[in-house]
């Protein structure tokens, strides 16, 4: 059993969307092998046992793939390590005696529900606007009927690994959702199956993105730097290319 670390936490507490929030300070002992969320489990057990309200935070799969966990840790979405979600961040990335500040995703498009939990339904509405290929079950031809070069499939896959967590928005000073939208547009526009709708898709998704109040991209690159799945900034370039192309064609 590894030695316990003594940590000071500054955690954002906010009763609901309508109330003002504030930071509360807590002390927790954590093992270096714990995940960041398991450290929060320990904190919540302490709070419940002492008759206080536990901290509400979103989490589900705890293996870095569902995209539900969402904490800004010391000012960085998903914390200090590159390429990991909060649930896959381990306490060995911190030092004994550290003070750690934990906040919810910060963006107008993601209103706070309670404490560290936010509402990300805007992302679903962007997908509903166009993030799909219009095909009904039963229509498909044989899966090998259309050959797709490996490089194209790999490129589409890389973009498709986005988990929709929203770290990109939270990291961006403009709260832009262009990395998220760019990833989906890139996946579908690269694949032959996605070509027929590529112009209508990109315009519909960008319109919805704007309607949700997400900002524009000013090429800072914080989104790609903080993305736990390391979606590259080039998807935004591709999004712009697709959008301009569609607009030139009068879409």
């Amino acid at each position: 059993m590894s030695k316990l670390m003594k940590l000071n936490l500054k955690v954002w507490r906010q009763k609901n969307a309508d109330s003002a929030g504030n930071f509360e300070e807590y002390k927790v002992d954590a093992s270096p092998d714990m995940s960041f969320l398991e450290m929060f489990d320990v904190l919540n057990e302490q709070l419940i046992e002492t008759g206080k309200e536990p901290v509400a935070f979103d989490h589900d799969c705890r293996e870095g793939i569902c995209g539900m966990c969402s904490m800004v840790i010391d000012g960085r979405p998903h914390g200090p390590k590159q390429g990991v979600t909060t649930c896959q961040l381990h306490m060995r990335s911190f030092n004994d005696g550290d003070t750690i500040t934990v906040e919810p995703w910060r963006a107008n498009g993601f209103p706070v529900i309670k404490d560290l939990t936010v509402n990300r339904s805007a992302f679903d509405r962007i997908i509903a606007a166009g993030g799909f290929i219009s095909t009904n079950a039963g229509n498909a031809v044989d899966a090998n009927a259309v050959l797709i070069p490996k490089e194209v499939a790999d490129e589409a896959f890389e973009a498709a690994t986005c988990i929709g967590c929203g770290a990109c928005v939270s990291a961006c000073k403009n709260a832009s959702a262009m990395l998220f939208v760019g990833a989906k547009v890139t996946q579908l526009s690269k694949l032959p199956q996605g070509k027929p709708e590529r112009e209508t898709r990109v315009v519909a998704m960008v319109n919805q993105m704007d309607a949700e109040g997400f900002g524009a991209c000013t090429n800072t690159g914080a989104c790609a730097a903080e993305c736990p799945k390391q979606i590259p900034l080039s998807v935004i370039a591709n999004l712009n290319r697709e959008y301009i192309g569609a607009k030139m064609n009068g879409k």
């Binding site: 092998d33 799969c61 896959q88 899966a143 490996k150 896959f157």
Partner: protein, 658 residues
Amino acid sequence: MTLESKIPAGDIATKWTQYKSTVPLVNPANKRQLEIIVVGTGLAGASAAATLAEMGYKVKAFCFQDSPRRAHSIAAQGGINAAKNYQNDGDSVYRLFYDTIKGGDYRAREANVHRLAECSTSIIDQCVAQGVPFAREYGGTLSNRSFGGTQVQRTFYAAGQTGQQLLLGAYSGLERQVGLGNVKMYARHEMIEVVKIDGKARGIIARNLVTGELERHFGHAVLLCTGGYGNVFYLSTNAMGSNVTAAWKAHKAGAYFGNPCFTQIHPTCIPVSGHYQSKLTLMSESLRNDGRIWVPKKQNDDRHPNDIPEDERDYYLERRYPAFGNLVPRDIASRAAKERCDAGYGVGQSKMAVYLDFKYNMMQKYGRTEASKLNIANPDDETLIRLGKEVVKEKYGNLFDMYKQITDEDPYEVPMRIYPAVHYTMGGLWVDYDLMTTVPGLYALGEANFSDHGANRLGASALMQGLADGYFVIPITIGNYLSKEIHTKPISTDHEAFVAAEKAANDRIQQLMGIQGTRSVESYHRELGLIMWNKCGMARNEQGLKEAIAEIQALRADFYKNVRIPGSVNEFNPELDKAGRVADFLELGELMCVDALNRNESCGGHFREEYQTEEGEALRDDQNYMYVAAWESKGDSWELHKEELKYENIKIQQRSYK
């Protein structure tokens, strides 16, 4: 009530085709008048909701997560099976059918499994059409790999995140229908009651998890696509929120529960490292394509794995099962790991782990091929490792990264340490051929039903079943019921049945909030999990199961006296959500033990220590137990109903992978 499985007559190979050609249909105009509730948005739920909406039905879909895209199907790693025979290795629908029945240790229903195998090929076509970026070969065709319990390569994959890609495909189809106004989506909602009117399922009571309000929703039919109940063990590879609540409320409302004791313990998971642990992480079965499992030949060998020479390693799966080697089915691989660890050959700090080692294939399989491609004659070991590592990285990179992140060890350099963990539940709500439960109008799809995997599921078959049920089975079979419902007008949610169901749900919530004891919900869940793991886990026996039943009853009584739920009802309160789920697990756990105690045989993942062969393999009793145990809730107890299983197309034998 007698169980009617409603399996159509006729030859196994043409049954489903025949059924599809003769089942009653609902015309497009009538579809628009019919409302369907879909609970859960994993592979089964999302695909069903999308497809039914495409057909013209009015659909309402519910999930407890903040978005339908987060359902735990997302975490499936290795792949999805389909009898495409793209590898020209002799695969066929029959062979997939046969492998699945045999893999399930002859406890699954023939007709359902054959239908599943038939649908498998269309699933891959559908997913590719949706833009699912499966792995491909340089020539542009789809790539395949092998999974346990088969000798062909029929598994389609997208690196180590196949579930994510398949679910995002189904989710995009679902969101498309949301955008078109054909599906109304309710995220952060949990179903906590089934509403029955005149014996038929007519809706649900759902709780809005943000506001705490109870809502009444009407549907001509209700589909439960709510996944499995592995979290009854507390530690499992399931998501934290995965729960049995919807299925359990259906069970209490009259749906029989099939084979509840059939749980799958997955052999390759990252071992438990501390008491604070909240979940276990799977290392995909696909790793067994290229990883070799071993322990030292000496007991309590504390040497570093890289210092243990080849001839002092026991590749026990290859030794015991030469025909299938490292690719034996999951139940067999798990028991073999437990056997080695119990006998004192385990590794790592806890000694409850075995090695999964990639070095051999990294060098000899991939390294040599790459060297050959580059015309490097007589490559040295360093070159082989360097070249092989790149291939392994491409196939399993995300899994290797995840392993390193959790354990702080680099699996490219040191063998992984793995141990079995709870992963999947073959048991679930009993359904007939139409996927309807014993409550008319109430269906169960995907892992939530009991139907296709018998006593052990083969790898890469869960994704196949979820999508087959949602895309291709329910859209057809639901017509059999709804064609008779076209005259049923939507029922007002002011109906007394809705009022009563809402009151029952509200009473339960008030009861839980009123306890105000001292112990956290989590502590009860953890204690229940330990009872289940120790006494109803990888090995079970009569005495242990009887003890477990008494312990669970006592724990449940204590829960209702001493649990402490902070906060209030009408707000976002995850502790209250969890309390309701744990309350249901505390009842389900007992039923699982009752079922395991009833089944005096070993089969698949259900291993009763009293019933084993001399070599320690599961010993079935086909004479007395070749049935599905379907349990009817009788308040505080259960009544057993049996569905006899008939094997007309497969010769039953002692399962052998030697």
